[in-house]
Symmetry: C2
Subunit: 380 residues, 2 copies
Amino acid sequence: MRERFKYDIHATDGAARTGTIQMMRGDIRTPAFMPVGTAGTVKAMMPESVRSTGADILLGNTYHLMLRPTAERVHKLGGLHKFMNWDRPILTDSGGFQVMSLTQLRKMSEEGVTFQSHLDGSKILLTPERSMEIQRLLGSDIMMCFDECTPYPATEDQARQSMELSMRWAQRSRDGFDSGTDHAARSALFGIVQGSVYEDLRFRSIDALQEIGFDGYAVGGLAVGEGQEMMFRVLDFTMPRMPKETPRYLMGVGKPDDIVGAVERGIDMFDCVMPTRSGRTGQGFTWRGAINMKNARHKDDMRPIQEGCACPACTQYSRAYVHHLIRAGEILGAMLLTWHNLQFYQDLMAGLRQAISDGRLTEHANNFRETYALGDIDPL
Amino acid sequence: MRERFKYDIHATDGAARTGTIQMMRGDIRTPAFMPVGTAGTVKAMMPESVRSTGADILLGNTYHLMLRPTAERVHKLGGLHKFMNWDRPILTDSGGFQVMSLTQLRKMSEEGVTFQSHLDGSKILLTPERSMEIQRLLGSDIMMCFDECTPYPATEDQARQSMELSMRWAQRSRDGFDSGTDHAARSALFGIVQGSVYEDLRFRSIDALQEIGFDGYAVGGLAVGEGQEMMFRVLDFTMPRMPKETPRYLMGVGKPDDIVGAVERGIDMFDCVMPTRSGRTGQGFTWRGAINMKNARHKDDMRPIQEGCACPACTQYSRAYVHHLIRAGEILGAMLLTWHNLQFYQDLMAGLRQAISDGRLTEHANNFRETYALGDIDPL
């Protein structure tokens, strides 16, 4: 019998941990990177290909799916897993972040956010209760509380008001989640710590969420323009206060070196569009940094994007070919480079998990950073 | 030891034939449909996926590849097969058709065609000799003579002059092909019958090409706006005069019913962008005709695009999902629908081959046409 939600930490190394989250639909090895499947598809990828890179869980975007094809339709069609042919865990966000970043004419109130759909301009009210309902209709395995991602920069007073609203919404999200029955036996609910860059606010947010009680705790309001140094500074004071027995999720992060630094500080889960989005725009990841596959220096290069990488872009094709595809605007270019980047991210996570198990994370992370900063050597 | 080029006809049924072309890089089952890999990729498909549909041979476009990445670069990188990861036969066209349809400021002369690249505006001369050289550099298995695809409509005088030029270029193509050595042991050269809609000109073209001698003979200058009825009329008088022992290739055709009618008239090989291009624009093929997956009637339809189809779009996804992807402009929509359409075309060819083998082509073709004309039934 599989657990609804159980986090076993197998090893720690400093603040970092590696373990397994057991859920009904499968295990999630941590630290985990969740590829983003915004509109019911990890862009340019078949789900079996996403799985082949080592992904244990995907992220789905509530905002996009509620507008099209709508949560009610996904539910009627058998749920998001069946719809998109992914039978492992899916985490859904609350929709709040996209409402703030993608819509016009928003109006915030205690009740929730009213906004215009970016698709047809229709007026929609999103509340904690409705967000829970949508995530339940989608069939989400890990639901996120509806919150306000505090903009950066924010004064301490702005950050406090925003955080306190999010905490009231966290309680309403918890109540909304608990009022359902069908999903309670298989889904989990995560709270989201806010408080911007203010230590006291972050602490109060953690306390408020723990008071309510969640299966896991996310750090929100980072990767919004504050920069890596500030992000790490916030993690430095936030992480030691975070609950230790439950997963910790850093939302929307990030670049490979962001992830490495956050894992060192105790983060267990990540999501980011970077590997998929940059794959569609010609950027490929290597252990010597990201490279622009559009660059003419690749046009005669018979080497793979990354020597030793197991993805089809690297085992079956040259840099010259991928360069050609990207230059020609071919869909296969986006397919191959997305696949490679997702493989790179999963290899990054597997390396971090192993290093934590082996008790050599500091050395591993320093080696990664040193090599990554070198830059790709021009072979010609 | 594999043959360079050997056509075995296993069975005939009326004018139709089914057989196998043996080549160094693999067998081609006829009647064959060749997916088009314009710029070194069958758009939105991994080559192993193209193969999985049953494709024995791809078509590559000389015009696109000569401009980018250039034939010399493809050669230096190990040839087109290695470049694009397809180890089976590739047929290349001569570049002439695309020069006529895609370029500006063309100038025809006895020597060849001067044109401006649609990529950078540079001035390029394409001749029969240069076309042969490019196709050789690409590593083509079946090269096509450089010819002029006579525009439609054309007066008999225009068609005669155009055809006679193409016949002189056919001789120069043959000489250019024969002057090379490295490819002679593994490649084949096809002539192209021109003559527009004029019986006497088609006959003279066939005679001229046979005089020169080729491994196969294509029917050119059709599917250029003359319509199916006229196309079949031309095939009706042309096909009985075509050499019987060698493959017959109808260039650029076509819709499923075009293919069925042409097979009944004795054509062995086809190529067309229809399954791939229409897959990217939301059209899917079914045995009850083509359907527009953008249409709102699919949005709640849990059925596959085509019941019984073995492609992943049909075995793993609903019409509702493919509809959602196409509506959302998702790359996976183009991937799945292209895959389905290529599977449909290969299933069409497999059915025709079997029917010819069984001596029931007329019944099979009539059944196909009757069902195809019914239109897809709305399930809701």
